[in-house]
Amino acid sequence: MDADKPVMVPPVAGKPASWTLRVRQAITRGLPMDHFLPDRQPYYVGSWVYVFGVVTLAALAWVIVSGVALSFMGPQWWHDSSVGRFFNSLHFWSVQLFFIFMVLHLWGQYFMAGWRHGRAATWMIGVVIFGISILTAFTGYLSQQNFDAQFIALNAKDAMNGSGVGAFFNVLNFGQMYGLHVMLLPIGVTFLVVVHVVMIRMRGVVKPIDTEGVAR
């Protein structure tokens, strides 16, 4: 008999009562698997301009990997040992590549008006990622544990106080800057990058302007 089989509740017509079913149906509608992991792209995607975003993601992966190693081993390691200095440099240069290719990606999306046809939120999330990344890089300079970090903090404090944020964003407070740099801001960047990529997967790459006459 079928006594060992689980008893399933029969589906009910109309809006499902189960929230898990509603979420699953919404995901299936909005992000089918052939959109999530496509094996083919439209012809117009065949340009090196579309590679800039992927290189930015690759640089971010190296930033995270090297950053995890640095935070685990600590400042003495990244200043005094040769392997630590290598990881310190890896972190620094992958951040340089991250910013360079993020800006090249921004230029590409700006000139192809990547916000068209319901992609405004994708564009705006990219803008927010850019802003948080700058803040993350700034707190990174303050977290180096060297004279450069002290010099930058002492000079930046007046700008922060002058802009009115000094009361809750104290660049002389190393613990606060380090916590922001290794925890809250990277989580923000990584989370928004995942949302950004999923939104691109949902809607696909924007069509070139000349395929539709005048851009909307």
């Binding site: 083919r40 792209q41 065949g46 340009s47 360079i100 090249l104």
Partner: protein, 49 residues
């Protein structure tokens, strides 16, 4: 490496040479990406590659 960077000064524009070189390199890379042809795979029946 320990000496201060030299600066490019033209009218109201004042920028260090390292920053100027990075920006110039980015512009060259962007233009190259537009010009250099991208290797295409075989076209499918739906016109996608």
């Amino acid at each position: 490496m320990d000496s201060p960077a030299s600066y490019f000064h033209w009218g109201f524009i004042l920028i260090s040479m390292p920053n100027l070189l990075v920006i110039a390199g980015m512009i060259v890379l962007f233009a190259t990406a537009l010009i250099v042809p991208f290797p295409h795979g075989k076209e499918g029946a739906d016109g996608r590659r």
